[in-house]
Amino acid sequence: MSILIDENTRVIVQGATGRDGSFHLRSMKTDGTKIVAGVTPGKGGADVDGIPVFNSVAEAENAGDADASVIFVPAKFASEAMKEASDAGIPLIICITEGVPVLDMVEIYHLVRSRGQVLIGPNSPGLICPGKCKIGIMPASIHKPGKVGVISRSGTLTYEVVHALTQAGLGQSTCIGIGGDSIIGTGYLDLLERFEADEGTDAVVLIGEIGGDTEERAAEFIRASMLTPVVAFISGRSAPEGKRMGHAGAIISGGQGTAEAKVAAFKAVGVPVADTPNAIPALIANRRA
């Protein structure tokens, strides 16, 4: 079992003929994902690695009966691409693109929510259900099928944590990068709720970072609504105030969003917080025992 995707998920790739899009289309296909169509305006009729390319998501949806669409288009066009996928009625939209204007995202956030669709990202590495389906840019080779769910605001840090889990023999049910921007389609709460309901997940790793208050709210949700054990990790403990650490959302301002506050929030509800990524597997083993 897994959340959001499985071996039957049919996927459209927006920006399929671009440098990143075509590379990852091939990689996802190699990793077993059911890619049904690509989209690049003006390139309809072409194909990438045997996958037909259409001019619009609506055309691709008609032809491919898709469950999900993953977006690799440049930042300037990513907002339109998300709206197009939403207009075409795609239930799950994943935006990999980084640098989407935030006010555009506010509008898109409310648009997809009002339609009952799920948007992951932007600035997300995507999600993977090891051995079944990968929609994103993560290296599938470090994953292993299993029962640990992983949710993270980061990309490569997630790989680091997944690598540590796999090395320790802990496989994963679904790993999701929710994106490092300040406005994202889906946050921790929705995904924690899905993991809680998923029979194939028996522990969750939540990887947070400085900025905002979503980790604090996640801690409250875990206390109130979860039986599945959760282990947390927070990056940015050594970050200075007022400096944005790469991610648009990773900034401590006005004393808000500090790592200390987040660590304290988790500890207060009985969620152990790992000091280092390599310390996570042992904490999970403890919580499961």
């Binding site: 990143d20 930042a75 300037k76 640098g99 989407v100 204007p101 935030v102 006010l103 555009d104 506010v106 509008e107 956030y109 409310h110 648009l111 590495p125 840019i137 993560m138 290296p139 470090i142 993270s152 605001r153 980061s154 990309g155 490569t156 840090l157 997630t158 790989y159 680091e160 690598h163 490092g180 300040s182 406005i183 990887i207 970072e209 905002g212 208050d213 979503t214 709210r217 990790f233 990056s235 940015g236 403990r237 050594s238 970050a239 200075p240 400096k243 944005r244 650490m245 790469g246 991610h247 648009a248 959302g249 990773a250 006005g254 004393g255 790592a259 000091d275 280092t276 990524p277 390599n278």
Partner: protein, 378 residues
């Protein structure tokens, strides 16, 4: 991106928000002549940081001579690391009450939060901590028109007079239009003053903009002040690297912001002190690695460098080639510890080994050894 007060005032004027009269000057003499005819003058340092008043960068002057001497005092002053090169002279308005009116992108409400209090002025941040309920809040959305009735009721919480409330309504709508039209992330009027004549006017302004949206607004991008970033940070941005200077002695090159932060944390955890945050991003361009090392090596405090790469989109062989390229282009006179795993790890390590460089597997081990070679405790 941040802008100066005078630039925010220019935008306020353009969008019809009343401001008291002001002029930007660069010398004490200019300050004197620019403020001729004003009864009382506020002389204000223009720097990209808050707390100017408390740092002595804002002074009141009662005559032309005072304007000149106070301007001379403020020019060249250092405020939180910024040197004052420009000052603003303003026609001092009599104040009956100071309000605060602000809008900020609010990630937890997925909207724009409008904030208002009749306890505006320099202590607004303290108020926000001490008595958050004294600041009234209302959420606005970029895709929805403002509900004027609700807004008027909201403004009434801090602005009782009918005429003043009407003025504030117009100003709030104008500020919202400006916010949306420029993809701002913050817009503040503080103080938003009530004069004894019953006029509501902006006596100061602050705006920040979304860097990711600047491509839509060349006129806003043109307001960029180079002093916002350190020279290194500026160069890093030009080279598409995400870089922040810190005060330690271990240089860091990492791919991905989250992993880069976690790497700094780990260095601190094991007793070391990082010199910088640097995310080379997800690209596979070897030159970026060389550019990154070039920026780090310019810092004389750096005693050792940690390269931590977890290949995903980034390929380890590209990173290895970048390291060799950097060795040819630069004089690398400090030890480097390399940790290289992920996509094309085998190929990357083979490239390094052929050049006599070794790469490790484990992150904790790499961090401990870089601290050791930098002369730290681990």
């Amino acid at each position: 991106m941040k802008i100066h007060e005078y630039q925010a005032r220019d935008l306020f004027r353009q969008y019809g928000i009343p401001v008291n009269d002001y002029k930007l000057v660069r010398t004490p003499e200019e300050a004197r002549s620019a403020s001729e005819g004003w009864k009382q003058v506020v002389v204000k340092a223009q720097v990209l940081t808050g707390g100017r008043g408390k740092a002595g960068g804002v002074k009141l002057a009662d005559n032309a001579l005072e304007v000149e001497t106070k301007a001379a005092k403020i020019l060249g002053m250092d405020i939180k690391g910024y040197t004052v090169e420009k000052i603003l002279v303003c026609d001092a308005a009599p104040i009956a009450k100071e309000h605060y009116l602000g809008m900020v992108l609010d990630r937890s409400r997925q909207g724009i939060t409008l904030m208002l209090t009749d306890q505006g002025g320099v202590d607004i941040e303290e108020l926000a901590v001490k008595d958050p309920d004294a600041i009234h809040k209302m959420t606005l959305y970029p895709h929805l028109p403002i509900d004027e009735k609700a807004l008027e009721a909201f403004l009434g919480k801090a602005i009782p007079g009918d005429s003043q409330r009407k003025q504030a309504l117009d100003a709030t709508e104008a500020l919202f239009t400006l916010f949306l039209a420029t993809d701002a992330s913050l817009a503040e009027i503080n103080p938003y003053a009530l004069t004894p004549d019953g006029e509501m006017i902006a006596l100061d302004g602050k705006m920040n903009f979304d860097d990711s949206a600047l491509f839509k607004h060349p006129e806003i991008a043109a307001l960029k002040n180079l002093e916002e970033d350190s020279a290194d940070e500026f160069e890093a941005r030009e080279k598409n690297l995400s870089f922040v200077s810190l005060d330690g002695d271990i240089g860091c090159v990492v791919n991905g912001a989250g992993l880069a932060m976690a790497t700094l944390d780990l260095i601190k955890h094991y007793g070391g002190n990082p010199a910088n945050f640097l995310d080379v991003g997800g690209s596979s361009n070897p030159q970026k690695v060389a550019d990154a090392l070039n920026i780090i090596l310019r810092n004389p405090k750096v005693k050792a460098i940690l390269i931590n790469i977890f290949g995903g989109i980034t390929r380890c062989d590209d990173i290895a080639n970048g390291l060799l390229m950097a060795r040819e282009q630069l004089d690398i006179n400090v030890p480097m510890v390399i940790r290289l795993v992920g996509t094309n790890q085998k190929e990357g390590r083979a490239i390094l080994e052929s050049a006599g460089l070794k790469a490790g597997d484990d992150l904790d081990d790499a961090v401990k050894s870089v601290i050791a070679v930098a002369g730290g405790s681990a």
